[in-house]
Amino acid sequence: MEQLLILLIFLPVVGALVTAFTGNAAKHVALVFAVASLALTAVVAGQFVPDASTQFVVNLPWIQDLGIHFHAGIDGISLITVLLTNVLVPIIILASYQHNYKSPAGFFALILFMQAGLLVVFTAMDAFLFYIGWEAALIPIYFICAIWGGKDRIKVNMKFFVYTIAGSLFMLLGIIYLYLQNPAHNFDIQAFYQLHLDPVQQGWIFWSFFIAFAIKMPVFPFHTWQPDTYTEAPAAGTMLLSGIMLKMGIYGVIRWLLPIVPAGVQDWGNTAIILSIIGIVYASLIAFKQRDAKRLVAYSSIAHVGLISAGIFALNTQGLQGAMIQMLSHGVNVIGLFFVLDIIFSRVKTNTIAELGGIAKSAPKLAIAFLIIILGTVALPGTNGFIGEFLLLIGIYQYNIWAVVFAGLTVIFGAVYMFRLYQNIMLGKTNDLTLGFADIKGTEQIVLFIICALIIVLGVYPKPILHLSEASVQQLLEQVNQKLTSVK
């Protein structure tokens, strides 16, 4: 069993090394490896028993003098994020087929390297390993965005890099502190769960971790790097950042923050929820004003992630389960949105909303796909966005009724700016630019078909996914509550 997880983590590394030497055939090689990873994930998901236990556990001594182990495993929460990663990476690679990136070998190799880093983050049961994965995912995406990005890429990505690395260095400080507190002197997650820290210590640890996670998601007021970075990144980079990478922050909160410092979460969770809700309203209002479609979607992503973050800190089953499914849905939807915008940009070289219009007339297939994705994003019942946002709002409602009033604005605001986006781009009069807009074909069609299918299937029948994580989420909450009562 344990070989399966090692294979899962290191297959992308092998893929990246092979891809780096394949020249112009890189995209095909990368796709083969990504699909192989997906197949392996399917095997893992098939063998997974949906109870609260950690399965496929690998525990090998790594740097023993420092108490560091290569300790990884998969429980329900990990499985959802692993699924997310390995489903989306092949889609993103396929979505990059239409571009002729310079030095494609490097480009696709970096995507696979990043995939390996992400998988380490999502399966690590050792805090040091988690940190290594956390950084290993950052370096490739920095290069992807800064080499293949737009005009302002250097300045924007420097900001992105310094922001995220600042967060992660303070997280490292927290990890070292926990390691020193741990009498066994190792980084094992179970040992961290057992630590007895007083509420003041927990408060400090909370902030050292939370800032790292909040920058990654991003939660207001740590979001300022995000719109620029999303806008300047190449399409695949934006998709990786928004679809998968920001889930590192959400996953980190669930896996590392809640169970290790529950008293810290109790003391400061309120602040986190307030920040998240401010982010929701603030990002939605700014999204209204955006002239550039890519920026609009970037801000909408801040709003959606704010809702997920608020739902997690509500600390109840509905909130956490909603966050799990919404991670998956948001990943699919946001990738869909950015892909459609990328298709439009590659045809007419602009994403400025005012310059577009009437595309639906000449590209009906694209219009339908875009509509389905937008419906998913605004959480129409029957699409994947609905079940997640519904559960999240119930979770927040149980926490505080006023919180849900403001958090619920995201649904209304989201519908308004998303439909306006659709209307302005797809409907209305065609102009010189959009006249003769070529409809989707080839790989574009395949990618959009997969995304739309996922939106509808997850929306109509989300139970298998919810079922996967349910037991683990329950156990996590019990653990948190138990620890809270023992502190009192």
Binding site: W62, I63, Q64, D65, L66, Y131, I132, E135, A136, I139, F143, A146, I147, R153, I154, M158, F161, V162, I165, A166, L169, F170, L172, L173, I176, Y177, Y179, L180
Partner: protein, 457 residues
């Protein structure tokens, strides 16, 4: 002792080979000599030989000797045609570097204050000449003079300190001084304290810690790049080994006395090194300031003395040495081709020189301290050590400085990969490729699997 004898004999042999115009034989002869001395160092492991109370080849000395000899071998591999255009008599340069190395081996193995002084002087005198080796170059002359004056000053401080300590204890022997401190812990002679401070100042001059760092940027920039590489890696490592041997061993009972001023020095060094490096336009000068900031991180091991301090310095120095050697090797290649050493001269390098650019990227990531490189393990050990004494604020301060470091180390990566530049193709001789590849392998290997050197000393 075999190590020092081998190095000195090699140096003399090289000098004679130069006399008989056997130019082709110089480099092989040097390398063979160094490899033999490296073999002596490795095979003497665990033997712990003491030489008349003057030197002790314990594992500490052997580990640092091996590291400095290996570093010197790498630097010699980079001498390919480097000095040939400056002078007809290349043998002198080789000999001087070897003499400096002999002094370095004494510096890492002394057990007597007089040997410390002799070691430092053997090394320094050779370096004064090496810094000014380009006789017709103004900057090189300036570097040499500055280095000589500053070095003479610092030696003065050091000697005065040694004298005071001798006055208090009546001995030069480290063992006797330590015994004195342990025996008279409550009543240490008042002469002793200024002695310790003066020795600290003298050694801080040598390792380039702020506020005694003013010579470093000018000397590093003015000296020929290869000599700068030698000074900022091998010589620096030796300086730390000497520092640590004295303070972590002999003066350890007085830790409470000398720790606060050292802590202040660490904070100033980190801050000045990092912040000034941020504003440099010249890659070589940036490396000089970054070497100041690394001196700050290395001094962490003295601020919090634990059983691991020596080993942590070893790991950090190894990580820093190999990353810096890569940086200077690439700098030499770029300077030879473009004639400049500004950041702009690295523009667009990544496109046509994938190997060189990748090596420099990994070196920069290691210096910045990104996981999976040796530099991260080095920094991590330092942070862990300081945190274990619960000096959280010091670590937080160091982390903020590390953050500044990311910014300037990334600049050269930005220039190489993200900026458009002329399509220059660097001429990379085979030796350079060997050094780059080996250094990259060591950097990555120590970053991924550092177990082998974690319990060395």
């Amino acid at each position: 002792m075999n190590i020092i004898i081998t190095i000195v004999v090699t140096a003399l042999a090289v000098l004679y080979a130069g006399l008989f115009k056997a130019k082709k034989a110089l480099l092989p002869l040097t390398l063979v000599g160094l490899l033999i001395s490296l073999t002596f160092a490795v095979t003497a492991w665990n033997s712990n030989t003491v030489y008349y109370g003057m030197m002790e080849m314990d594992n500490y000395a052997l580990a640092f000797s091996s590291l400095t000899i290996l570093g010197t071998i790498f630097i010699f591999l980079l001498t390919q045609n480097y000095f040939a255009k400056d002078s007809e008599n290349v043998a002198e340069y080789y000999t001087l570097i070897l003499f400096a190395l002999a002094g370095i081996v004494i510096m890492v193995s002394y057990t007597n204050m007089s040997m410390l002084f002799i070691g430092i002087e053997i090394m320094s005198v050779a370096l004064y000449i090496l810094a000014g080796i380009r006789k017709s170059n103004f900057a090189s002359n300036e570097a040499s003079l500055k280095y000589f004056l500053m070095g003479a000053f610092s030696t003065g401080f050091l000697l005065f300190g040694i004298t005071l300590v001798y006055g208090a204890t009546g001995s030069f022997s480290l063992h006797a001084i330590n015994q004195y401190l342990v025996g008279n812990y409550q009543a240490v002679s008042p002469l002793f304290y200024p002695g310790v401070i003066l020795i600290m100042v003298g050694l801080c001059f040598k390792i380039g810690a702020a506020p005694f760092h003013f010579w470093t940027p000018d000397v590093y920039e003015g000296a020929p790049s290869l000599i700068t590489a030698f000074m900022s890696t091998v010589v620096k490592t030796a300086g730390f080994a000497a520092f640590l041997r004295l303070f972590a061993g002999t003066f350890a009972p007085l830790h409470d006395f000398w720790m606060p001023p050292l802590m202040a020095i660490v904070c100033i060094t980190l801050f000045i090194g990092n912040v000034t490096a941020l504003f440099q336009k010249n890659f070589k000068r940036m490396l000089a300031y970054s070497s100041i900031s690394h001196a700050g991180y290395l001094l962490f091991s003295l601020v919090t003395l634990t059983a691991n301090s020596a080993n942590n310095v070893m790991v950090y120095a190894a990580a820093y040495t190999f990353a810096s050697i890569i940086a200077f090797a690439v700098l030499i290649l770029v300077k030879q081709k473009t004639g400049h050493d500004t950041f702009e001269s690295f523009n667009g390098l990544g496109k046509r020189n994938p190997l060189v650019a990748l090596a420099l990227t990994i070196a920069m990531l290691s210096l910045a301290g990104i996981p999976l490189t040796a530099g991260f393990i080095g920094k991590y050990l330092m942070f862990l050590n300081v945190m274990s004494q619960y000096q959280v604020y010091l670590v937080a301060f160091a982390i903020l400085n590390a953050l500044v470091g990311f910014y300037y180390y990334l600049r050269v990566i930005v220039a190489m990969y993200f900026k458009e530049g002329s399509d220059i193709v660097l001429e990379t001789p085979v030796q350079y490729k060997v050094v780059l590849v080996l250094s990259v392998i060591i950097t990555i290997f120590l970053g991924v699997y550092p177990t082998i050197i974690l319990n060395l000393i």
